[in-house]
Point group: C2
Chain length 449, copies 2
């Protein structure tokens, strides 16, 4: 359920839509207003079909959990379906399904989001139920405990049975030794196992509040039409007084390259990944995060990238290789580079080749052609997103929850287009520093590496 950011999803989709020039780069600008209790409302009209996407984004995620209680934020992604004073357990999902809608929820370090897509004439129902569970959640001890077991099982399946996930989790813990981004969203197993009701409820009472939420509605509705509904359902909810500021501890400076090797019998194909600490849209100034996204797109974002061409096509030493930036975090970002060696090739060999590609890139920077191709590819994401009600809602919700403004989102593709070679090179050089990196090797149990 650890959602990749909306932006990242949009980037991936962009590869399907490699438009080289953008006729209308800007995203549609939503209408917004704020309720008296502090709840922000964002409306993205889309009249193509009598459908709405209703999302509530809470400005709380795994990074806000009290130390020793990892997993609480994600736990609520489950508990929120367990009923309120007036809605019995499971009824929320049954009502949505019975009315032809579908729902989803996801948790990141920065936010927790609840998502329903439904026919426009059922919006009242959704708003009534969603507002109800923002403040009035009720569940029994049995429900709490059995849902905790469900989460333990979820962790077992998604993380503990997945050597790559285990490795990634620990690489994050090394990259962020102190900052809460080093703690897995799902929680450390031994802490999930002891999550208690009292601390869960304190978390909910504090953070699940209208003044900590953003309502994003995309679809067949205008702000004018929505406002009375928003006031009726959400406007009467009590805000949290003295909402805590989201201040997270930060990391000491890096001191040198870190490495970790994980071996597991389930590994069939060795692979290597390196993560670097990076700035993010939430922490940068000016166009730095844009320049980083462009720089990393050139380095490893596609099959025309430096890394892919060198390792997979020219040298034929890797079956896959690339790089990606994750610059959406409220508290910082990261860049990953990775390679899976071809049969008979060692991890040392692919890592050395990857290092050589990076060194050359940091010396010369992107060519003008590469720069343009990367910018077009990224901008295409924005164009593609215009066509998806859900995408747009996701982009606005995640961006606002991660410290950006509506203007930032609207102008994103223009800002990407404005990135210069020098800006991209400066960000690449500042970020791809081996001294701020963790390199992880994933190997079978008996490999002779």
């Amino acid at each position: 359920m650890a959602a990749r950011s909306a932006r990242f999803i949009a980037f991936c989709l962009a590869f399907l839509a490699l438009a080289s020039a953008a006729p209308a780069r800007e995203l549609p600008r939503p209408e917004t207003f704020t309720l008296r209790n502090g709840m922000q409302v964002v409306v993205i009209p889309d009249r193509r079909a009598p459908v709405v996407t209703h999302m509530v984004w809470y400005r709380v995620g795994a990074a806000d959990e009290p130390r020793g209680h990892s997993g609480i934020a994600h736990f609520f992604e489950h508990l929120m379906f367990k009923g309120t004073r007036t809605i019995p357990p499971g009824e929320f999902s049954r009502q949505i399904a019975r009315n032809g809608g579908d729902e989803n929820a996801f948790t990141s370090w920065d936010y927790t989001a609840y998502h329903v897509r439904i026919a426009r004439d059922r919006l009242d129902l959704v708003m009534r139920m969603e507002a109800d569970r923002m403040r009035n959640l009720r569940y029994s001890d049995e429900t709490f405990l059995s849902e905790r077991d469900v989460i333990v099982e979820e962790r077992r399946q998604r993380t503990d049975n997945n050597p790559g996930a285990i490795l990634g989790e620990r690489m994050r813990a090394m990259l962020w030794p102190h900052h809460p981004y080093g703690t897995p969203i799902v929680g450390w197993l031994h802490e999930i196992n002891t999550l208690d009701r009292a601390s869960a409820e304190a978390f909910y009472e504090t953070w699940y509040a209208p003044n900590n939420a953003i309502l994003v509605i995309a679809g067949d509705i205008s702000a004018e039409e929505l406002r009375p509904l928003a006031e009726r359902y959400y406007g009467r909810l009590r805000p949290t007084r003295d909402l805590p500021s989201r201040t997270w501890v930060s990391d000491p400076p890096s001191i040198g390259p870190m490495r970790v090797t994980h071996r597991d019998e389930k590994v069939r194909q060795p692979s290597m990944t390196r993560m670097y600490r990076a700035i993010s849209y939430g922490t940068d100034t000016g166009r730095q995060a844009h320049a980083l996204d462009v720089a990393i797109e050139v380095l490893g974002g596609s099959e025309t990238s430096r890394i892919y061409r060198a390792l997979v096509e020219d040298q034929r030493i890797a079956v896959s290789a690339g790089a990606s930036s994750n610059a959406s975090g409220l508290g910082g970002g990261s860049v990953s580079v990775w390679a899976t060696p071809a049969d008979g090739v060692s991890l040392e060999t692919v890592e050395a080749a990857l290092d050589a590609v990076i060194a050359e890139y940091l010396r010369d920077g992107p060519t003008e052609v590469e720069l343009q191709r990367a910018k077009s590819s990224l901008s295409a994401a924005a164009i593609y997103a215009r066509d998806s009600q859900e995408s747009l809602a996701n982009i606005y919700g995640a961006s606002l929850a991660q410290g950006e403004s509506i203007d930032d989102v609207v102008n994103w593709a223009n800002d990407i287009s404005a990135v210069t070679r020098e800006e991209a090179l400066t960000l690449a050089r500042g970020t791809l520093d081996i001294d701020s990196s963790v390199t992880g090797w994933l190997l079978p149990l008996e490999a002779a590496q």
Copy 2:
């Protein structure tokens, strides 16, 4: 000021006193009583001179600091000399000096200790002042801020100017990614810089209390003589109600070997260190920590150890090499192995040789001769400690603050003697697991490693 444990100091001294058989292995058993406010008192009579060692051990240390406020525990090691309602700033130390005493203080993850040695007839003065500053500390904002600068400077000199200390700090952060032992005692620089008075005072009010303190007095006094003094000075202090339990977050299981390399222009001599997570006297059952201490003494505790003989004497590839156990932590321990290569020898070479010594040791375990030598060497520490008033006070204070009982301390050398080859080998095998280790390389800036 991060004190090595009293036991470790005693071990080092033991090399000077390699007694092979112990006529009286047991440490003298102190007299103890508890004041009505919960303060524990331990008296170790020693009539050789009209001198007393007066120590107050608080069961609070760096591991108890609130997240994001690292350095607070150590900060009090400074603030405690800044005066009370009745004692002006600096007066505590001046009084002690004027009366021919000397004083010291030290902070670990597990405890903070305040130490005065003085003539017996000045004990009243010490107890009055020490009791006063347990509850009545007063300092100005200016003092707080200027002392914070002093600590920043202390950190700069001891850690930030010392590449080996920087590396060790980060190796700990990797070994304990979640447990507070991964945070340096002195604090992360950026957190020391923002320590605030309010959280410092909350820390003091909570933890500096008679029901969280152990008074250890060694010297020319009996429990009977001490009791009225203890009641007069400490007995009337208010205990902390609802003293928090010292429950620390624990780490997820290890997933594989970790490495970190630190290069600095100040490094003249490359070196490597590996740390393994281990049990401790505070976390073990039975004689496990004793067996670990014996096993590591055989492996690398002296110039007759496996590691030293192989790397320094036989192969001549290292100028120093060894191993040590730190099994005194309340929340867990560690084992370190290290080597400094001879000129022209690479770190790869010494590390491979070290690995080979460890592999052979884990296969065969210690010989009976090695076992006896290690046990004698460790037991000698206890014999030597009998002769030092300060040593005895340190051993009892640290051990009690770290979760051991007086019996544990009294019987320590006997328990060491009882360790079998099998016990030592089991602990060595359970501990020296590369998958639970961090290896650190320290290199000059331009080394071609």
